[in-house]
């Protein structure tokens, strides 16, 4: 399977290991990713806060690029994924605004490009049997809590739990699976964000989780940076755990990129 790939700005910077592990884990499942040429920033949480039209146009430009590439597009960053989906929703449902967007971007929306998150791709399109078949080192006894991954049901997301079980890990029920970490305020209201992050981490510890698993580079860096307790809880991407379970050698390069190095936790599976 071949897809267009929209990494977004974080995956070229603070989410480097998410980029590398997504490419590696999907490659192991025979997915080929072709990075969109000349993609632009989706505007993240700032564009929609200040400029409603620009926020939609920024996301829609990337959809136009994917449409020109005639491929469905994989967007691993949860924030980018959200922005692309919002733009898609408007294009699909609001014909007045669709015409405005088409005029501004000089393209015609053909409604032929799917936007997929890697969790959705793996669980619903590739299928968990193929994931299980690719596992070399099952992550037995690794207790983890999945954080904000509502690509199926917004209140009771299940897809990531299923994926984590398929690679042998033990996803735990916890209260904060869909609780926001305040990432967009991280640099301007650290005091608020520290409380949100410390609460999340405490609740993860309440169920004896050894790591929080995320699919968002903004949550990941925020949860790492804003923990205040001395013994810090590792925050890992689900794609890193997939790579680890698949026995991929390059997984060794990912752990050192973390602000909280999860090496101790993962070394027994390597």
């Amino acid at each position: 399977m071949k897809f267009a790939y929209y990494p977004g700005c974080s995956l070229h910077a603070t989410g480097l290991e998410y980029d590398q592990s997504t490419r590696a884990a999907l490659c192991a499942l025979d997915v080929e990713l072709d990075e969109l040429r000349d993609w632009n920033c989706c505007g993240a949480s700032s564009a929609h806060a200040l400029d409603a039209n620009a926020a939609i146009l920024l996301a829609a430009r990337n959809l136009a690029l994917a449409q020109r590439a005639h491929r469905d597009v994989i967007a691993p960053c949860a924030a980018c994924f959200n922005r692309l989906k919002v733009a898609e929703h408007i294009l699909k449902t609001d014909s007045t605004r669709r015409v405005e967007i088409e005029r501004a971007l000089d393209f015609y929306y053909a409604d032929a490009t799917q936007i997929l998150n890697p969790i959705d791709l793996v669980v619903n399109h590739i299928g968990l049997p193929r994931v299980r078949a690719a596992v070399k080192n099952p992550l037995t006894d690794l207790r983890v809590v999945p954080h904000i991954t509502q690509f199926d049901d917004p209140e009771h997301p299940r897809a990531l739990d299923q994926l984590l079980s398929a690679i042998g890990a033990q996803p735990c029920e916890w209260a904060d699976a869909t609780h926001c970490c305040g990432g967009s305020l991280s640099l301007t209201r650290a005091n608020i964000v520290i409380k949100l992050v410390d609460d999340l981490v405490a609740h993860a510890r309440d169920v004896n989780a050894q790591a929080i698993v995320t699919a968002c580079p903004l949550c990941q860096i925020n949860l790492e940076m804003r923990q205040t307790r001395a013994d810090k809880l590792p925050i890992v991407y689900f794609t890193e755990l997939m790579g680890l379970a698949f026995g991929l050698k390059e997984s060794r390069k990912w752990w050192g990129k973390h602000l909280i190095n999860p090496r101790e936790l993962v070394s027994r599976y390597q």
């Binding site: 480097l16 806060a49 400029d51 409603a52 917004p154 990432g183 301007t188 209201r189 608020i192």
Partner: protein, 192 residues
């Protein structure tokens, strides 16, 4: 008389009808930032609805909103409270309302400025701009240095070929948008 102009403006700008709200406060109950807010999302909504326009626009709450969309996901009447917050931020800037959280608005401006310059985010530049905005030079230096050393914050920005196109998107809004039309036509826009 009830001044409904802000309500109408918000409804138009956020493509919805906030009047369907029946004040159950579920949005505020689930809002992660409500503990730090003055009013909380459901009261902000009521203020807009009942003409407390200046108070709503000058509240720090509209800037503290993290945009997580928990409220919009849970509202039993499908009110998109997150979009309401976005609309209020935009209107507060357009009206130059008093803003007790000016630094957050400046942060967003800085973010958009970098997208205008490069077409993509450049974290190193953003860190510098944030330091100028918050006037706190030492905050997060440790983490910033670590990230640079780990090769996760590129020093040189990536600049896309479509930067001009992207930059125009971010500039075009004020001239020809719907809200400019509303500003001209609403009594709210004509108030002093």
């Amino acid at each position: 008389m009830l001044d409904s102009s802000l309500r109408d403006w918000v409804n138009l700008q956020s493509h919805q009808n906030i009047n369907t709200c029946f004040t159950c406060a579920k949005c505020t109950a689930g809002c992660p930032v409500a503990f730090a807010m003055e009013f909380g999302p459901h009261r902000i909504l009521q203020m807009v609805r009942f003409g407390m326009n200046d108070a709503a626009l000058a509240s720090r709450d509209i800037w503290l909103c993290a945009g997580c969309e928990t409220c919009a996901t849970r509202c039993p009447n499908d009110v998109d409270v997150a979009a309401l917050m976005d609309a209020l931020r935009q209107i507060s800037l357009a009206k130059k309302s008093r803003n007790p959280a000016r630094d957050i608005a400046d942060f967003h401006r800085a973010y958009l400025l970098l997208i205008k310059l490069f077409g993509r985010m450049h974290e190193a530049s953003l860190m510098i701009l944030v330091k100028l905005i918050t006037r706190d030079l030492l905050a997060d230096m440790g983490a910033g240095v670590q990230l640079v050393l780990k090769g996760k914050i590129p020093i040189v920005p990536e600049r896309i070929r479509g930067t001009g196109e992207v930059s125009r998107m971010l500039n075009a809004e004020k001239r020809n948008s719907r809200e400019a039309f509303v500003i001209r036509n609403s009594q709210f826009g004509n108030q002093k």
